[in-house]
Amino acid sequence: MTDATSSHRIPPAEQETGKLAQSRRSLAIRLLIPAQVLLVFIVAFPLIMQVFISLTWWTPLDGDPWYLAWMSWNWFDNYTYLMQDEGLWGSVGRTLLFVAVAVPIEFLLGLTLAALFYEGVFGRPVLYSLILMPMMIVPAVAGYIFFLIFQQTGPLNTALSVFWPGALDVNWLNDTTRAFIAVVIADVWQWTPLMFLILFAGLMSVPEDQMRAATILGANWRQRFFRIALPRIKTVIAIAIGLRVIECFKIFDMLFVMTGGGPGVATESLSLFLYKRTFQDLEWSYVASIGITVLVALSVLTAVLMARVKKKDAS
């Protein structure tokens, strides 16, 4: 006798919301699909393949297709080999040295530039664009530019020979120490502007009133900069250095074009080492194992850093 629907009546508005929320959710799910497909296809799947290959002796020289790699299964031989591979560790050490030298120089120069701009200069817009130009140059092209510059009879030596006649005898790219210095100079040239860009943006975000208050209290430039500005941009500094360290560690283009890793292995970074093993020696399964090791190491590192950052945020 009672109307079956009346006892289950849902107010129209709620019904609407339920449907609406549903359709929004389904849109979101569908919008995510392309990115997820890309990640699975080009990241997840190759990763599995890489692990698979790293446990074998396989190389393309075998002539067999990759999925038959299981025929030369060797468990962890690649991994134990890489632990002792002097070439590998040499390149890692060299890369770390490179980062440890180049990044601080870029930071200090970038900070100096940012401070100069912050205090004010004439023609700021023009100078700003000019200073930024090096980092917009294609890295491979920048590598070539410095290849030209560091030629023994190139412009650098020619210019220096005005002061030191012996300069024209100095060989840069074929001397182990000088080649390293040359690539550091090239990297500093290209990426100091990036440091400058980020640090300057950070300085500009320091509240002007606080700087004024400090000045009125009698602080000079140095006191304002080191007691007010710099402490306030700690996060920005961390981001700038973090970004630069990561990119610098991956360096390939510039070195490959400028020195090819030479002379010998003087400027062979990790990426260059991997390149040579891949294309000159065709030791693909070995490189695969190194790749997995690097991945694991970096993942652990980022996880640890993330945890520390989260802890800091929480406190």
Binding site: R212, I216, L217, G218
Partner: protein, 370 residues
């Protein structure tokens, strides 16, 4: 201790004039308020005194010495910003110590004075807290303490109390006055709140549209305003300014406020002399709401008006009147019985009323002391 003098000081930003030919002589150890509506140029004036803004023209002197081109670092003034500009990445202690540290004061001396100031500002219990965690009221006190600790002879405050809640504002007002007296400083205080200015200052500089309107004691600003702006700005509710037709009848001067010649108000001797000397047929008649009376009988000194609205504000009753042509407000005791729609006869406490030139807005006066 220092006097501050502005001589023909002006400031322009491109086409826009922020401060126009300012002449201001502030005495040593005086508490001066710079009062005016938004955009009148009061903050810019203060910024020029501090050295935050360069002067476009004219001179600024401290104790006679020309400081117009002295950078803000070296002027030795104290400045409290409207948003306090506290160094939020430092603790309260470090904020207070900053001014002393940059001057190279000894650490022991710094600690002593910091603790003294913290006590004076009632911040001792928070002295090692990060300043970002302070409440608005505490930030205010810290801002003042940070500037005061270096004992500047000239203390500038830019609307320091406008962010505070009303109860706290009262407290801070008396604290500031106390501070100024005990340190014997020249204090210059920018505000748009006239009650604050009237209550705190020895003298008030009223500004409007980049120009100084009047620089005088609160008493004079209230009872002897220079022009219609000052008259209308000061007082809450503000002075009624009504256009009046002036006519002479039977040897006496009359002000017609309602467009009804028969109902013109007879002026007293003082106002009559002013009107005669001026000679114009129309003047602005100014009277404060509190200077209105209700008369039983209409006579030569009263004006017939109708009550339009009655408001209860605090202890007073505000009654809005209309004469058909003009409207004005009267402020009476609560006991007065008037209701909307009623007719009333209002009379004026003429000794406290003023006449202003209708074109220039300047107040009419017989001599310097009027």
């Amino acid at each position: 201790m220092a006097s501050v003098t502005l001589e023909d000081t002006s400031k322009t930003f491109g086409d826009f004039t922020a401060v126009r030919n300012m002449n201001l002589a502030i005495k040593d150890a005086e508490f001066v308020a710079i009062l005016g509506p938004s955009g009148c140029g009061k903050s810019t004036t203060m910024n020029m005194i501090a050295g935050i803004e360069d002067v476009s023209g004219g001179t600024i002197r401290f104790d006679g010495a020309d400081v117009t081109n002295v950078p803000m670092q070296n002027r030795g003034v104290g400045f409290v910003f409207q948003n306090y500009a506290i160094f939020t990445h430092m603790s309260v202690r470090k904020n207070l110590a900053f001014g002393l540290e940059v001057q190279g004061v000894q650490q022991g001396e710094i600690n002593r004075r910091v603790e003294e100031m913290a006590e004076f500002m009632a911040l001792t219990h928070r002295i090692d807290a990060p300043s970002g965690s302070l409440s608005v009221n505490e930030l205010q006190k810290l801002a003042i303490g940070r500037s005061a600790i270096v004992e500047p002879s000239i203390f500038l405050l830019d609307e320091p109390l406008s962010n505070l809640d009303a109860a706290f504002r009262e407290r801070m007002r008396s604290d500031l006055r106390q501070l100024q007296r005990s340190l014997n400083q020249t204090m210059i205080y920018v505000t748009h709140d006239q009650i604050e200015a009237m209550g705190l200052a020895d003298r008030i500089a009223v500004m409007d549209q980049a120009t100084l309107q009047q620089f005088d004691t609160p008493e004079n600003i209230y009872s002897r305003p220079e022009n219609t702006f000052v008259a209308g700005f000061i007082g809450a509710p503000s002075m009624n300014l009504v256009r009046a037709r002036i006519a002479e009848r039977d040897g006496a001067m009359f002000a017609d406020l309602a467009g009804r010649e028969a109902d013109a108000v007879a002026l007293d001797d003082r106002l009559s002399s002013q009107a005669r000397t001026h000679g114009g047929a129309a003047l602005t008649f100014g009277f404060r709401p509190e200077h209105l009376r209700i008369s039983d009988q209409p006579d030569a000194g009263t004006l017939a008006a109708q009550v339009v609205l009655v408001e209860l504000v605090g202890r007073r009753k505000l009654v809005h009147f209309s004469t058909g042509q003009t409207r004005f407000v009267g402020s009476f005791d609560r006991t007065v019985s008037l209701r909307p729609g009623e007719a009333a006869n209002v009379s004026f406490d003429l000794g406290k009323c003023h006449l202003f030139d209708p074109n220039t807005g300047l107040r009419l006066r017989l001599g310097e002391d009027d």
